[in-house]
């Protein structure tokens, strides 16, 4: 059952400072309303994963690892590979995270990232089906939040994409009834590069990339995931209040440019 979350107590004064600044077009960390915090992306940190990436979004840190293994396809899609996205809010990342089964927030992050990758058809689902209905390659995207300073959805989305671009998969072939490792690797085939852009509404102002302090005072949140063609492939609204239709339209338009900027950063980091 989903319950109204209890936010950690923020001093009233701090709350007021954050809101006052935003309503004047400023922010507590001196960014503009439409600016991201500094973004750093490193790939290939985890040798045992097929691909990995760590994203620093301001002080938020998210690590994504890709594992590609053989498995069985779903009965209703025998000729498609399987994609599984999971997010862990590990307790070392924030005093508000607890060990145990995935929280609602973790489920939401993983499902929003999953939707972006799946709906943009980023991974070629028809490729690397080894035996129709029997053996396909399963792609696991595991997102590990290491430090929570707000906007985990965007950090997770960027880390997942960078890790996918970074992924190398063992060459496999089918001999008779057996699937064998041919030796050597190839790049994981990708067709699209979805990037999530998250907005928060603080007071009556729309800001991009909310920090934790801003998330604690925001009215609502909207994530728009944009594909490589500048089209929308996923959206998710969150938070206890709402947006006017015009605010939604404005955010969607703004998302296109922001996604392109961040996509260029990811591609440069993953290739460099």
């Amino acid at each position: 059952m989903s319950a109204t979350p209890q936010l950690p107590p923020v001093a009233k004064l701090e709350q007021k400072t954050v809101v006052d600044l935003v309503s004047k077009g400023k922010r507590i960390d001196e960014r503009g309303p439409e600016s991201y915090r500094p973004i750093q992306i490193q790939v290939g940190l985890i040798e045992k994963a097929n691909g990995s990436a760590q994203v620093h979004l301001g002080k938020s840190k998210v690590l994504a690892g890709i594992k590609v293994q053989t498995g069985t396809p779903f009965p209703d899609t025998p000729d498609e590979r399987v994609l599984t996205v999971n997010a862990e809010l590990v307790p070392l990342a924030s005093p508000s995270f607890e060990a145990g089964p995935p929280s609602e927030a973790a489920i939401e992050i993983s499902r929003v990232v999953d939707r972006g990758i799946r709906e943009s058809k980023a991974i070629d689902m028809k490729s690397l089906v080894l035996q129709k209905g029997k053996t396909v390659q399963v792609v696991y995207v595991d997102i590990y939040v290491l430090d929570h300073d707000g906007n985990l959805i965007d950090a997770a989305s960027m880390a997942a994409l960078a890790a996918l671009v970074n992924s190398k998969v063992a060459k496999m072939e089918v001999k008779g009834d057996e699937v064998i490792n041919k030796g050597g690797h190839h790049q994981l085939p990708l067709n699209n590069y979805p990037v999530a852009v998250t907005f928060a509404k603080v007071d009556r102002t729309i800001i991009v990339d909310p920090s934790l302090e801003e998330e604690q005072v925001m009215n609502a949140r909207l994530t728009v995931t944009i594909d490589k063609n500048g089209d929308i492939c996923a959206m998710q609204k969150g938070g206890l209040y709402g947006f006017t239709p015009d605010e939604v339209r404005k955010a969607v338009h703004m998302a296109v440019g922001k996604a392109a900027e961040n996509r260029a950063r990811i591609m440069a980091a993953a290739k460099g």
Binding site: M1, E119, G242, P245
Partner: protein, 255 residues
């Protein structure tokens, strides 16, 4: 029940959909309130083949106590699908999808409920999908608003929700199961009509910006239509109550 096959076409030559609807037409909708005896408020919605029952309990004492909030009521929400509500039996344990939907449905209703009137309590919403036919989260929100009103919980106004999607390249209102499954995009939207607030917005699939703008506007209009239907149902409930009270009064006078 055999699983239905993929239809050859979702839109025919006359521009009509598999169930005979136009692109901008809602499915037939039936709304009822107050049909459960034990719940503080309840509502039922049929939208196409969707059959959804909602119960509200509360405001009631928070249990366990530590979940209570000192300055407001906690809203709790469970969206749950019956095992027999879909083609393949659904495991009754809550899935990740159901957990996400419980969250977004709760968030779509939070802004209208006057929670600060009932500190330290919970208001519990149970949404049971008895049969699912696409757009069940939206139908669930429409019915949940009615159930809250039926429970007499003070609200600013009711929330109405409706989805718009894209099938065979065209925008279509209120997708059915098959249209959702074989279509290209789905955008569930919830609107608080008088406040002009969008409180649920999700999307999956592929849409250009102009398709989104057009679809979003279609969904907002449909929400307003649904809101008028919600109001009618409540008015009818109170008219019936008034009649019953008047009859009782007359009987007393005669006696």
């Amino acid at each position: 029940m055999p699983e239905p096959k993929q239809p050859e076409k979702l839109i025919d030559d006359k521009g009509l959909r598999i169930d005979g609807r136009r692109l901008d037409e809602l499915r037939p909708i039936k709304l009822e309130v107050g049909l459960l005896d034990k719940a503080d408020g309840s509502a039922y919605i049929e939208q196409g083949k969707n059959k959804i029952l909602v119960a509200v309990y509360g405001p009631r004492e928070a249990h366990p106590k530590h979940i209570a909030m000192p300055e407001r009521a906690v809203i709790r929400c469970r969206y749950h699908m019956a095992p027999f509500s879909v083609d393949e039996r659904k495991n009754p344990a809550p899935s990740r999808r159901e957990m996400e939907l419980s969250k977004v449905i709760r968030e779509s209703l939070e802004p209208v409920v006057l929670t600060d009137l009932y500190p330290r309590t919970t208001i519990d919403l149970f949404i049971e999908v008895l049969q699912s036919d696409g757009g069940s989260r939206c139908a669930g929100i429409t019915a949940a608003s009615l159930a809250l009103a039926d429970a007499g919980i003070p609200m600013k106004e009711m929330v109405a929700a409706c989805a718009v999607g894209k099938i065979e390249g065209k925008l279509a209102l209120d997708l059915s199961d098959a249209e959702d499954k074989y279509g290209e995009a789905d955008i569930p939207v919830a609107l608080v009509p008088n406040a002009g607030l969008v409180t649920l917005l999700q999307m999956d699939g592929h849409l250009t910006l102009s398709e989104f703008e057009q679809g979003f506007t279609m969904a907002l209009e449909a929400c307003k239509t649904l809101h008028a239907m919600q109001r009618e149902v409540l008015k009818k409930k109170y008219a019936t109550m008034k009649e019953a009270a008047e009859e009782r009064e007359e009987a007393e006078v005669v006696a």
